[in-house]
């Protein structure tokens, strides 16, 4: 089978294959033509479909998000690039007060098939306004489905699934998993079918089986957790690693089953610590697996500070393989609950 490196081409291929047979798909956003939305999610579409269907917008997030809402309500399926998720602030009203709510508020009248694709994450020195993850912000709002692929296979299949969804879906592609030559790459080359396929929402993937603890992660934190699990294995600690794949819907069943099996849970998140993914996942796990837990659920996330620029500062706040390893180790060593 054909091998692919990274999410970017996989997502672009999914859009291409859907555009080829769905005339209603149009791509909107900044730099989506020559630059493939900078992080490659729309690369190759402009030469094939031209400016009629691949539309560079002015730098007007509020307006192009609003245009997506309007276009979706009368029959198009806009695929919108939000270049960096950090730029959501400039278009957020149209997203959270309209895109996420119009279907519900209209009593089911207004369709909202919109797919937003955005680049997330730090680790390459782009500082506080270009390194955030922020999926928790969107997951908090009822009305968005939240997709966070960690592999190229999932990226293609989940994008295909998003493009067939009648609801707003936001795909968060981590920059260090895109596979583009100008950024570090922490993923792996993998086999990705050339034909169309979908990966269902709400199904977490158990990336590694284990007995001693469960590590829950999404996006870049998945390969980092897997690397940490390898080191733990060398010390005889068997870690199960779960890749959430979608935050909304969230696969509670897989999480709870794993927590019941291992009794120890570490949640690893690149978003800010408080009021976000880690707290939500912990809540759902304890609700379903409290009696099986041998220790309080632990979490590792960005410790409620903006992402600083300088390398030693940035490294201190984004969870690393080393810190995942340390947190997992201390959790396994923790006293069992009375």
């Amino acid at each position: 089978m054909r091998k692919l490196k990274g999410l970017a081409f996989a997502i672009a291929e999914a859009i291409d294959q859907e555009m080829a047979h769905n005339e209603r798909l149009v791509v909107l956003g900044e730099d989506v033509t020559y630059w493939g939305a900078v992080f490659g999610f729309t690369m190759g579409l402009f030469p094939k479909y031209g400016r009629e269907r691949v539309v560079d917008t002015p730098i007007t997030e509020q307006t192009f998000m609003g245009m997506a809402v309007g276009a979706a309500s009368v029959g198009l399926h806009p695929v919108v690039s939000l270049m960096f998720v950090d730029f959501c602030g400039a278009g957020f009203d149209q997203m959270f007060n309209h895109m996420a709510k119009n279907y519900y508020m209209s009593g089911g009248q207004l369709p909202m098939p919109v797919t937003v694709i955005t680049a997330i994450g730090g680790g390459y020195g782009d500082a506080a306004q270009h390194s955030q993850v922020l999926y928790g912000l969107f997951a908090h709002l009822p009305g968005f489905k939240i997709v966070v692929p960690a592999t190229a296979y999932d990226a293609k299949g989940l994008t295909m699934r998003a493009l067939a969804d009648p609801n707003p879906v936001i795909i968060f592609g981590h920059k260090l998993l895109t596979g583009l030559p100008f950024l570090p790459f922490e993923g792996e080359e993998e086999e990705v079918p050339e034909e169309r396929y979908t990966v269902e929402f709400g199904r977490a993937a158990v990336r590694r089986q284990g007995q001693d603890l469960t590590i829950v992660a999404a996006g870049l934190m998945v390969p980092r957790s897997l690397k940490a699990a390898e080191r733990l294995a060398q010390e005889g600690i068997s870690a199960e690693v779960i890749d959430l794949r979608t935050l909304v819907p969230l696969d509670e069943a897989t999480l709870v089953a794993s927590a019941r099996k291992t009794g120890r849970v570490l949640i690893v998140d690149e978003d800010y610590m408080s009021y976000g993914l880690s707290g939500e996942v912990a809540f759902r796990i304890q609700a379903g697996a409290l009696r099986s837990l041998k220790a309080p659920i632990q979490r590792l996330a960005v410790p409620d500070v903006p992402i600083p620029f300088s390398e030693p500062l940035e490294s201190a706040v984004i969870p690393s393989v080393q810190r995942i390893y340390e947190a997992a180790r201390s959790l396994v060593g923790a006293q069992a609950l009375a």
């Binding site: 020559y34 630059w35 506080a128 306004q129 620029f309 300088s310």
Partner: protein, 345 residues
């Protein structure tokens, strides 16, 4: 070039009209050279560790890098009329504005290198440079400068200070809602605000023709009853004479203004940009309008500087920029635990 090159006699008339003397013009030349040297040295250091394979995370300067080579005259033409108490809010391409506003080159360079001795102790980086002693700020978010400068202008008037605020932004940002919203508020409240649109023809990779329904910005500001001017942004003197007029008016309570400065960036949107969206020939055509040789020739025409003086000014600027880079390179990185401090006062 949007205006013809003046004859020697007309040049004397123009500089007299602008109120520029020999000393000011020589200083402006040195400033232009300082910015050019600084940007070229940053470019040079940025590629350390990034060649032959370009990896944004590698080398002594990480992340994106947006340089302003070619756009120096806009920054110096406007900022040489400002004092420390006047506010400037800049963009993701901020070095030329910072240097022109008087930000200490050493601290600026150190921040770009992420060092503890930098303006923001390494927390900000190249797109997030802040210096309250010079009332200088910037943002990596397009369109963010307009309302923040308007806010500073609003405060100056409330506080009874005779200061002005300047918002710099590119023509891409002029499509942002904040541009129109700010112009409306500034016109309504008659704020001491000068909006400077540095129109370099490209928003990232998107050419102006693909993103603007009109080629000009001044018309849009005029629709908010704001006096507006188009200047040759590759000509220090042209920028200066209009900036002087509008800054003095704003300072004297006569309200806001917009300057549309037509200019060009010689380097890519960011370093590593393959520039598929424009031709080499176009870049070369604009090289003929390089603001530094243009001002150099004019200084000679005016008899205000000879080759020896001009070379000395250029050398001084180069040395100052080199000293800044050396300071940055030899400064220590911040301690990791600093990352967790400073969210609140």
């Amino acid at each position: 070039m949007i205006k013809p090159e003046p004859s020697p006699q007309d040049l004397q008339y123009l500089v007299a009209q602008a109120g520029l003397d020999a000393d000011q013009l020589r200083r402006a030349y040195r400033q232009l050279c300082l910015i050019r040297s600084f940007e070229n040295l940053i470019a040079n250091r940025y590629y350390i560790g990034k060649t032959p394979e370009f990896n944004m995370a590698a080398g002594p300067i990480r992340g994106e890098m947006h340089l302003a080579v070619g756009q120096e005259a806009v920054a110096v033409g406007v900022c040489s009329l400002l004092g420390d108490g006047d506010a400037v809010v800049s963009t993701h391409r901020p070095h030329h504005h910072a240097l022109a506003k008087g930000v200490e080159p050493k601290k600026l360079a150190a921040e770009i290198f992420g060092k503890a001795s930098g303006l923001c102790h390494g927390k900000g980086g190249h797109m997030h440079l802040f210096d309250t002693s010079r009332h200088f700020a910037c943002s990596g978010i397009v369109g963010a400068s307009f309302p923040q400068a308007a806010g500073a202008a609003f405060a100056f008037r409330k506080l009874g200070q005779r200061n002005v605020a300047v918002a710099f932004a590119g023509e891409g940002a002029a499509n942002h809602g904040t541009f129109a919203e700010t112009l409306n508020v500034a016109g309504l409240f008659q704020l001491p605000l000068v909006v400077v649109i540095e129109d370099n023809l490209y928003a990232d990779s998107t050419p102006k023709w693909a993103a603007l329904s009109t080629v000009h910005h001044f018309q849009r500001a005029q629709s908010f009853n704001i006096p507006s001017y188009v200047v040759d942004g590759m000509d220090f003197i042209d920028v200066y004479r209009v900036a002087k007029l509008v800054i003095e008016r704003a300072r004297n309570g006569m309200g806001p203004a917009l300057i549309e400065a037509v200019c060009y960036r010689y380097r890519g949107h960011f370093e590593g940009d393959a520039e598929e969206y424009r031709t080499r020939e176009e870049v070369e055509r604009w090289q003929a309008l390089d603001p530094i040789p243009r001002l150099r020739e004019r200084l000679k025409t005016l008899g205000w500087a000879d080759e020896a003086i001009l070379n000395r000014l250029q050398d001084e600027a180069q040395q100052e920029a080199e000293a800044a880079i050396q300071f940055a390179e030899s400064s220590p990185l911040p301690e990791p635990q600093e990352a967790l401090m400073g969210v609140f006062q």
